[in-house]
């Protein structure tokens, strides 16, 4: 059958009922109200046609031979999550109706029903469909605007900074011998300030992505022990971490954590970066990974300056940085822990801090263990 024009489609109601009298009466009543009605004597026929037409509203009887109403709802929901479903239930028990609503039906109509009852429910159903459609459209538009805004603004903010930094980098590289001590120092100070700004834009971009839920992949899994090891290796090479001892230790046979590598790497990196920055010369940074039932536990501890108690409640707030004489010269965007918190929230975990001023800080992250990959035959594993 040919597809129908949108205006007709948006005015169409499907009725699936094995009872010919119900089909006929629904059709007559609803046609009088100006709807386009198609009726089907069984679920299979209705579902096949629904794939082509995608009507906004479906009325379906619960008790039918072959495919019952519950089965129909289940299949239809997979085909079209937006169609509004109203169930007709003959034995007007609340339980049946509740079960159907749990499976995604919007409302129910106990038999026998009056013309007005049918009309009212259908009107409500259409109202619901229109609102959902509008909300969906607005959400899409908002996301598109946000996505474009973030990319464009970050590109435009970065452009000038990159150009300035590139001039300075090349100047320093090609004219190093000709420049005086003070000039060299000013150039490297300028470079450091630009790097600060670039890092800020980068973090802000990450936060925007996190807010859209576009950064972390909840369906992926990664080995947090390996990630910790890689981050620690990297920090050992950095001049800024030269005065601290860095170690990583993962429990053997640690299960995979939920989340993708990029996202978890960012989490570990931000925590390690803080542990290094707020440390004392000769201090240590330890990253430990372990598991507890269904959780992967990541601990990043340092022997640094600690976090004053009144700062702790604000740690995960945007742009909040402690301003003590000890910390005022430590570079940072003030977004690192906000990013950590958002990543952890996104993955369904928790992050907590324990600290003693002047002695240590421990960040403890709990992440859900990854779901076992789909399609694995568990009997194989058990049978070993």
């Amino acid at each position: 059958m040919a597809a129908m024009p949108t205006s007709d489609r948006e005015n169409t109601i499907f009725v699936i009922d094995d009872d010919a009298i119900i089909r006929l009466s629904c059709e007559q009543i609803l046609k009088k109200s100006g709807y386009k009605v198609e009726t089907f004597a069984n679920g299979h026929e209705g579902i096949e046609r629904l794939k082509e037409v995608r009507p906004p509203l479906l009325i379906v009887d619960i008790k039918m031979p072959e495919l019952d109403g519950f089965e129909v709802i289940k299949i239809v929901r997979r085909i079209d999550p937006d169609v509004v479903i109203v169930v007709i239930t003959g034995y007007a028990t609340i339980e049946t109706a509740v079960d159907a609503m749990k499976m995604g039906a919007y409302d129910f109509l106990p038999k026998p029903f009056t013309t007005n009852e049918l009309r009212m429910i259908i009107e409500r159903g259409f109202e619901r469909w229109r609102l959902a459609k509008e909300a969906h459209f607005l959400r899409q538009q908002k996301e598109e605007v946000e996505r474009k805004f973030v990319t464009l603004v970050s590109h435009q903010l970065k452009g000038p900074l990159v150009a300035v930094k590139q001039y300075l980098d090349v100047l320093l590289y090609t004219r190093n011998a000709e420049l005086s001590g003070e000039t060299l120092e000013w150039i490297s100070r300028s470079q450091a300030r630009i790097d600060e700004m670039l890092a800020l834009i980068q973090d802000w971009l990450l936060l925007a992505k996190l807010d859209r839920g576009a950064l972390c992949d909840r369906d992926a899994s990664a080995d947090i022990g390996k990630i910790a090891e890689a981050v620690i290796q990297e920090y050992r090479q950095l001049p800024s971490a030269a005065t601290v001892t860095l170690t990583a230790e993962a429990a053997p046979g640690l299960p995979q954590a939920r989340g993708d590598e990029v996202c978890l790497n960012m989490l570990v990196r931000n925590l390690v970066s803080n542990a290094v920055k707020y440390n004392k010369p000769g201090g240590t940074v330890k990253v430990g990974a372990d598991s507890d039932d269904q959780w992967i536990i990541l601990e990043v501890s340092d022997t640094g300056i600690g976090i004053p108690e009144d700062f702790r409640p604000h740690l995960f707030e945007e742009f909040y940085r402690s301003k003590t004489p000890e910390t005022q010269n430590i570079p940072g965007t003030g977004l690192g822990l906000v990013i950590c918190k958002k990543i952890v929230d996104e993955l369904g975990g928790t992050i907590d801090v324990e600290s003693k001023e002047g002695e240590y800080t421990i960040f403890a992250v709990r992440l859900p263990a990854a779901e076992p990959p789909k399609g694995v035959d568990y009997f194989d594993a058990v049978g070993e």
Partner: protein
């Protein structure tokens, strides 16, 4: 100091004239001949004419992903299909989607570098990509394994 790179030509395709000037100065100080184009179409035309030994390619020019199209187009032109290309961009801080796939018959891009580019790194990579034979072209200069 004049090196073997003396006769090598580098084409920079980038719409930021300041970035181009800085990089051009750097490359010229190491003896490269440098030409530049400020958009994709001009860049491909110039590449066809001068047959550069190396192309530095920006991603986001007047179009959001103009660099990717330039790269695709270059690889379709037989004379440019194996020209080493370094993609430079400030949009990505990590190696982005068009990672080097050594299994592909030709390389989409040989390398990705984030802007601002570290001068020593760029010169080392330029030396490697213009000096080495095609067979060796997928080993980065710093000896690190390519992801």
């Amino acid at each position: 100091m004049k090196t073997m790179s003396e006769s090598k030509a580098v084409l920079i395709i980038d719409d930021d004239s300041d970035f181009v000037r800085a990089i051009q100065t750097l490359l010229e100080s190491s003896g490269y001949k440098v030409r530049s184009a400020s958009n994709g179409r001009e860049g491909i035309q110039l590449a066809k004419n001068i047959q550069p030994d190396l192309v530095l390619l920006d991603v986001m020019m007047s179009e959001r992903t103009e660099g990717f199209f330039v790269l695709q187009e270059m690889r379709r032109i037989p004379a440019l299909s194996r020209t080493p290309v370094i993609v430079v961009s400030s949009i990505y801080s990590e190696e982005p989607v068009f990672r080097v796939d050594p299994k592909a018959g030709w390389l989409p891009a040989n390398l990705f570098l984030a802007k601002p580019v570290e001068p020593a790194r760029l010169l080392a990579e330029a030396m490697r990509l213009t000096g080495a034979s095609a067979a060796e072209a997928d080993k980065p200069a710093d000896g690190k394994k390519q992801p």
